[in-house]
Structures are given as C-alpha cells and as structure tokens.
Symmetry: C4
C-alpha cells in the first residue's frame, strides 16, 4: 500500500513535468511558425505554414510524451472528463497549472529564439495592434470584424467540433487506429481547425495555451494592452472552450457512444489490447478512464 | 423476429441522425475553409487551404460516425448500390433526406460562425455574383467560361472518377487497407478532386451537399438568385453526379471486380476479419452489402 | 496445361486494359491540375497544387488497379527489369503500347473536361509557347534557360533517383511497408520530383506519359509545333529516362540489394506473406519477378 | 573470429558507401527544391515547397538505406550516442567523413542538374549575397537581423528539439510505430523545423550537411566568401548542433526514458521483434545500441 502510494506520487510528478515539457514543445513549434512568418513579412512561409506548424507541434508533443504522461494537453478535455465522472476532480488544478506553466515557458523560448527577429521587425516596440504588432505570435486576438457574441459563438462551435472529433478518435469501439496514427490525426485535426475556423480569432481552443503565453507577453514588455485589446478579449478563449468542449463531448456520448453494440466485456478486452501495445507506460487499472486520458 | 425488427428500427434512426450530424461536420469544416479565405480576402488561406478544409472535413466526418452509421455520405453512392442491387431502394429516400437536412444545418452553422465576417466583407449585402459575392462559400456556381454542356461533362467525368476510386478503396479483394487509413484516403481523394477538377464549377460531386446549402442560402437572404445564377445551374450538380456515379461504379465492376481471382469463400472470410475489427457497430449479416455501405 | 494458358491469355488482356485505364486516371488527374491552374491564371491553385495533382493521380491510379494488373505504370521500369532478366522481353511492347494509348486517352479526357476553359483562356488559339500557351498542360517542354545537354542530364539524374527509390520501396528485404502505404509513398515520391526537379523541364520521367499526350495535342490542333518546340525536345524525355532508369536500378542492385543478409529461403517466405495479403490478384508462381512487377 | 572480422569490415564499407549515397539523395532533393525556387524566381514553388523537398529528401534517403546501413544521417546524433556510451567513439570519424563526402557529392550533383538555371539566373556570377545570390541553395547563411548570439541560441534550441523528437520516435518503449511510418515521421519533423525555425538561419541542424556543400561551393566558384559571409558564420552550424543535440538527448533520457516502467527483459523482447521485422540488415547483438543507431 505504501509502495503504491509512493509510486503514484512519483508518477504524478512525472506527469506534471512532462505535460509542461510537452506544452513547451507544442507552443515552441506552433508559435515559432507564426514568429517566422510575421517577422520575415511572409518571405519564409504563409498562413498554411503557420497552421502546419501548430499541427506538427501537437504531433511531436504527443509523440514525445505519449508513453509516460498519456499526453494530457488541454484543460477543456480534463474538465469534460471530470464532469462525466471519468477523471478525479482533484487532479484538475494540478494538470491545469502544469499546462499554464508549460505554455508560459514555451512562449519564453520562442521569444528567446526570435528575439533578434522580433526586435528588428518591430523596431524595438512590442505592440499588440497595428502593422508591426507582434503580440499575435503568442496568443489569440479577435479580428476587427468580430463582435463579442461572434467571438463567443466561434469558440463554442470550434471547441465543440474539436472535442467531438478528439473523443471519436479516442473511442476504440468506434473503430481502432494503428499505433502511431493517432498523434498524426490529432495534428490533422488541429490543421483542420486552422484552415476552417482560424480567421475570426485564431482558434485558441485551449485556455492554457492562450493564457500562459498572454501572461508571458504581459511580463516580457507588451504590457497590460495584452489584456485590454479586443475589448478585454482575453477571457473569452478561457471560458468559451469549456462550454464548447462539454457540448462536443456530450454530443458524442449521446449520438455515437450510446449506440455502440459491443458488450462492455468484449470492449474491455479489445481496449486493453490496444492500450497494452501502444501505451506501455500506463498501468491498466481503470481501463475506462485510461482511454479518455490519452488525448488532450 | 420482432426483436430484430425493433433493433433495425432503432438503428435506422441512429443512421438518420448520424448521417445528418456527419454532414453537419463535413459541411461545417469544408464551407468554413471557404468562408475564411473569402471573408479574409486571402490573408487567412488560399485555394489550397479551402481544398484541405473540404478533405479534412470528410476525414473527420467519417472518423466520427464510422462505427455506427457506416459513413454513408453521398446519395450518388447509395443510388449506384441500389441500381446494382446491393442496397434496398426503400432506404434511399430516407438517407437522401438526412443528407439534405444535415447539409442544410451545416451551412446554417457556418453562417452563424462567420456571420460578422460575412456581414463586414459584403457590407451587409448577400450577393451571388461579383467581387463581394458570398454565395459561393456554401454551394457551387459555374465559372464564367463554362457552357452548359461543359458543366455537364465536367460533373459526369469528375463523379465517375470519384466513385471509381471510392469503390476501389472499399474493395477488400483489390487490396486491404490498415484500419484508419481508409478515411484518410477518402480525404485525399476529395483533395485530388479539388486540385484537379475544381476550377470549372467547384466539384460539387454530391447532390445533397450542393442542394442543402443552396436551400439555406435561399432562405437566409441570398434570395432566388441562388437558383437563377449560371443560367439555372442549380440542377446540374444534382443530376450529373448520378450519371457519373453510375458510370464510375459500373466501370469498376466490369474492369476490376469481374477479374478478381479469389473464391467467394476466401473473400468472405478476409472481409469479415477486416470489418469485424474495424467496424464493430455493423452487424455482419449481409457481408457483401456491408462492404459497399461503408463509404459515401 | 491448356486451362492455364487460357487463364494467362485472359490475364494479359486484363492487364492491358487496366494499365490503359490507370494511365487514363493518372493523366486525367495530373494534367487536370495543370489545366486548372493555367486556365484560371493561378486563381484556382499554384505550382504546389499541380504537383499534388500529379502525385495523387498516381496514388489513386495504383489503388484502383493494384489488385489486378499489379500496377505496371512506366515502360522505363519494365525495360530495367527486362535488362536485369526479371521480366520477359516479349511483354515489353504490349505493355508500352498500353501505356501510350492510356496516356493518349487521358489527355483527350482532360481536353474534353477543360475544353471551355482552354478555349476561353487561349482565345481559341492552341499555342505551344508564349503567355497563352496551353500545350504545357499535357506534356513537357524545356524551360528557356535549358540547353540540350542540360536537359539530358536533368532527365538522367531525375529518373535515376526516381527508379532507385521505386525499387527500394518495392524491396521487401529492405524493410516491409504496411498494406496501403506503398501507393501513398509512390505519390510522395512523385511530389518529391515535382518540388525538387521540376523547373528545368517538368520531370517527365515516363516516356509513355510524355509521348501519348504529345501525340494527342499534335492531332487535336496544336500541330507539329509540339514536336519542333525546344529544338526538337520531344525525344529527350523518351530516351533519357531509359538511361537514368537503368542507372538507378543498377545502383540499387549493387549498393543495397547485394548486401542483404537474409537467405533466399527466409526472404521468399516473408515476401509471399506480404504479397499474399496485399495483392490477391497475382498468382505467386515467380515470386521474384512478382515483387518487381508491382510498381511502375 | 576471423570470419566475423571480415564480415564486420565488409559491413563497415557498406555503411560508409551507403551513408554517402543517402546523403547524396538527401542533399540532392533538398537543395534541388531550393535551386528550383531560387532560379525560377518563385514561379516553380515557394517557401513551403523547399521545406517539402528537404523533408521528402530525408524520407526517401531513409527508405533507400534503412535495410542495410540503419540510416545514420547526422554526426550530432552519433556524437550524442558516443557521449552516452552507446556507440563506439572509433566509428565516429569514419561516419562523419562519409556524411561530409556524401553531402559534398550531393551538392555537386545539384549544381550539375541546375547548371544552366544557375548560370542564367546569376548572369554567370556565383554570388553569396544580394538579389542574385545562389550560395544559399547549398548551405546556410544567417538572416540580416541575426546577431551572433541569436544564431547560436537558434541552433542550440532547434537541434535540441530536433534530437529530442528523433530519440522519442526511436524509443520503442515510448510507443511503437508501424513499419514504414518512421521514415515518414522523420520527414514530418524536418518539415516542422522548416516551417517553425527556418527564418533565422535556415535550420542547418546537421554539421556535415552544412559544411560539405559549403566546401563544394568554395571549390566550385563561389570562393572564400562562403566562409567569410555573416561574419564568419560557417562554424556556428558545425558547433551549435552538437551542443543542442546533447541537450535534447539528455532531456529525453532524464524526463522520459528514466520513467519507463517496463522491465529491460520485456523491453528487449519487444524491441527485437520490431527491429527484426523492420531492419533485417542489422545484426542484433547489442540491442540497446541498435535502437539508437537507426536514425540520424
């Protein structure tokens, strides 16, 4: 009993550190792609390469940490699971904090790597709006045309669709995936969001990935404008994704998962096989919870 | 017997709802990509990102519903199967109606999500033609150079090729695919159509996906011009795909499927294995029909 | 014995017809992508979408016919095998003729589908050179900067690399591939050629794919200029690929295949397994030859 | 004993020759993509196609040689393994020299293939800087905005991330990959680097891939400016990747590999299975070392 508790404790720390690390990578690659296009004024990429960067950042973030942390990447996903009773509420704050810290550190690394480029591009002035703005490299701001309600709707719809697809990709009863295809499809999903739902406010989808870098830019010299811009936009990508995420997860539960015909017995077995081969770092005690823990 | 009928009924409803849902997603992502590029005047994507959106929309539409509905997505495909005697005619109207409703709802969601953007872009005027036209976000219109016969030929050729490839990807005897690759290849096929056969009239390929959103735009304020434009173009993408689809399916039947050398015995077995592992929601009574039901 | 001969004969015809068909599709998609970009003056795609079209055309060409014809696609590949003694010389003329006819028919279909677009774009004048040239949609012409020797070197180098990679992807002893990944990788290889070796003369790589459409344009109204252009360029993409193809195949044989450590016994077994599951239409009498017959 | 030595000797030569060959292909495709875009002044590709060329070059380089040489591609990776005690130090010089020679020959082939294009583009003057510069086709030069320290940081961060992901993709305990997906993911990783970390100095990441072509351009007519440019930039992409590579490898070791829960017994078995099927040319004596030898 004591031994198990000790192991659990050790595992908690690992998950915490790794989730940070993963976010680090995720942010680093995704924001790096934006930094590159913005500061090169479009000579080193275009809108598509930024989206490819976001997508591939997620792909390799998951590939790096999938064996150990199970690749928890999004507080929205964690919350959905808590509400559905498939994830302990007490883990939520720690996970969310790790996401936030990781995203903050990722933004800091991008700033370090693109320091010269950002300084040259902006003439040393770190601005949130205007032709030489650089704050958009790190977190989301609404387009000029977007109203408050429009932004809310955009984020609810986008996150609902995003989570619906995430849960579907996770659901082994809905159809299995070969080892190694799953992270690639999550990347494809993020690319999908970028090419289909990116022009209103940059598809934040993830409260931690948006707030962490915003806090970094606040500290690093962009100042309080990062919170004031867009009529106090900053809290929309924190609140709306939770609403959309719950909506998407519930939709999947009601429309798809409720209609699976396999018996739990059978299902449990097939799940264990797939998880057993693909995710060796996870112990298989709560197989139901596990499936949902893999992604996001 | 009664029990089975009851289950069938329940399954029918599920299929209906899910096909709608899938079309919803499909339309949402595909049209969203067009809305984004049009309303951002090309700053948030280009022709390729629109095609990527269409392709990825299909990919995730299939991934979400593949386990339950078998991913029926296109009335043309259903009709081809009916003609070949592999699908009951009585299911056709219900399926087609679900497609139509789903596509209508998908278009409505895109309009909701891009409402601010479309209003700002068009200055509040919902137009079908001209530099500020926005109707093309939702359904197909012919290019200026296209004659009536040219449009007919384009859609017959494109749908024939499309269905030929769809049926080939479905045919387990022609060569198996790993679980999870099939939806990705359908997406690649749609991308192929977009980059190769998109400039004449936007490759509708699918009567429901074209008519549903057209009805929505008619209702939502674009008015009767959506039916008048292009010399009454609207019925071409409804009729021509059926002709092309039959042509493509028959070509495959005659040139490829007729030449398979495996005995039905052997084939049945390999099919069951693949369907059994990949598509658990389907009961395997009519294995021949099933294979053809998976896609489109 | 008589029965077997009869079956072989039947199979020959099938291969012939299917190879034509495949080329048809292949050409149709690849040239369609070029027709779309050229006639839309770049509003419906760019250089990358043309290359994606070529690549995806090959992918679906192979997916359609892989189970029956084994996907012979390139006379260069067939000749290399004949020289190495792995393919009967007597089959070569029939195969090459099928390629040629298929490519001719593919070009005709593209012209049919894009007839209005080409007429509008060119003002009715079918030209080989100048800003309104449309001959480049169908077959290769050298860039202005390219000398005769430069074109020869370009095609030898490109075809050598192309065949080297084709043979490597085929070689099961070099490392197996999951079912269904092979056609995708051939597509990726063609994309590679397009982005890396396309600006000198459009990477023909394939004598039949170049000559067939050239003959079509000669007949369809572009006239004898299609043979005169580029200082009589037309025969370079017919001769040079054979030289490069042999070079690439031999390089692979000497550098890689000669160093495999598995015994023939072992190898034969693993090959049979993979072919047996993936390519059911092939009888496995001459397993060595078979492996090489799959591609190109 | 003597026999084994003889075999080892033979294998050494093979590895040497093949690594050269692979680099040849790798460079040829990657630099070819750059040559194509530069000399066509952007009509035959853009920034994305150059990155696709680099990525696909790596993919097919690995596919060609994976069965025999185990696809050693980067001296940084070899050095990391030596430091960690998993690779014999004495092999390092020979491997690195092969890399260098292969990259030199690859650059020479690109120059040969694009000789006419480069001469026409540059007016016969082989320049390192300015609008008609062509040296950037072959190796990396810093952007104007980049300071010395900025370049150092960029390369350390980029190589750390690159190696971290490489090692993660290699680590079978972290999650297996289907045969054939591994080379594709390495290509995706290189694409990631290109779209996210390419605008500061072109992500050299690899000392041999940068120095070999630089030596070629020095010899071929660009002169000593290739070493003087960017304030003597040439040695930064040689030294910084070693620092970053070690950092990335160690980070993975400490954060992920140290936390794997499988016993060595179990691990050894699963590794052998995967290597045994995928990489038949490797003898499995030191299974730990082997895993790390596969990539880079």
């Amino acid at each position: 009993h004591f031994l198990e508790l000790g192991n659990l404790h050790k595992k908690y720390d690992t998950v915490k550190i790794l989730t940070c690390l993963m976010f680090h990578i995720f942010k680093l690659i995704g924001s790096g792609a934006a930094a590159q296009v913005v500061t090169s004024r479009g000579t080193h990429g275009d809108y598509l390469t930024i989206q490819l960067g976001s997508a591939l950042g997620a792909v390799f973030g998951i590939f790096v940490a999938r064996g150990v942390s199970g690749a928890h990447l999004n507080p929205v996903y964690s919350l959905s699971l808590c509400v559905l009773g498939r994830h302990p509420w007490k883990k939520l704050p720690l996970y969310s904090l790790s996401h936030l810290v990781g995203a903050f550190l990722g933004a800091a690394t991008v700033y370090l790597q693109y320091y010269d480029a950002i300084q040259t591009f902006s003439g040393g002035e770190l601005l949130v709006a205007g032709p030489n703005a650089t704050a958009g490299i790190f977190c989301s701001y609404p387009a000029d045309h977007l109203s408050f309600w429009g932004g809310l709707v955009d984020q609810v719809v986008a996150t609902a669709l995003f989570l619906l697809c995430c849960v579907a990709l996770e659901d082994q009863r809905n159809g299995p995936l070969p080892d190694g295809l799953h992270p690639v499809l999550v990347g494809a999903l993020i690319l999908t969001m970028g090419v289909s739902m990116g022009s209103n406010c940059g598809f934040p989808l993830n409260p931690a990935r948006d707030l962490g870098p915003r806090l970094f830019t606040f500290v690093a010299g962009w100042g309080e404008e990062v919170f004031k811009a867009g009529g106090g936009w900053w809290w929309v990508p924190i609140v709306a994704p939770f609403v959309g995420g719950l909506l998407g997860t519930l939709t999947y539960e009601l429309l798809i998962e409720a209609h699976h015909q396999t018996t739990p017995q059978k299902e449990k077995k097939s799940r264990r096989t797939i998880l057993g081969s693909g995710f060796k770092g996870l112990n298989n005690t709560y197989s139901r919870t596990k499936t949902y823990e893999i992604l996001m």
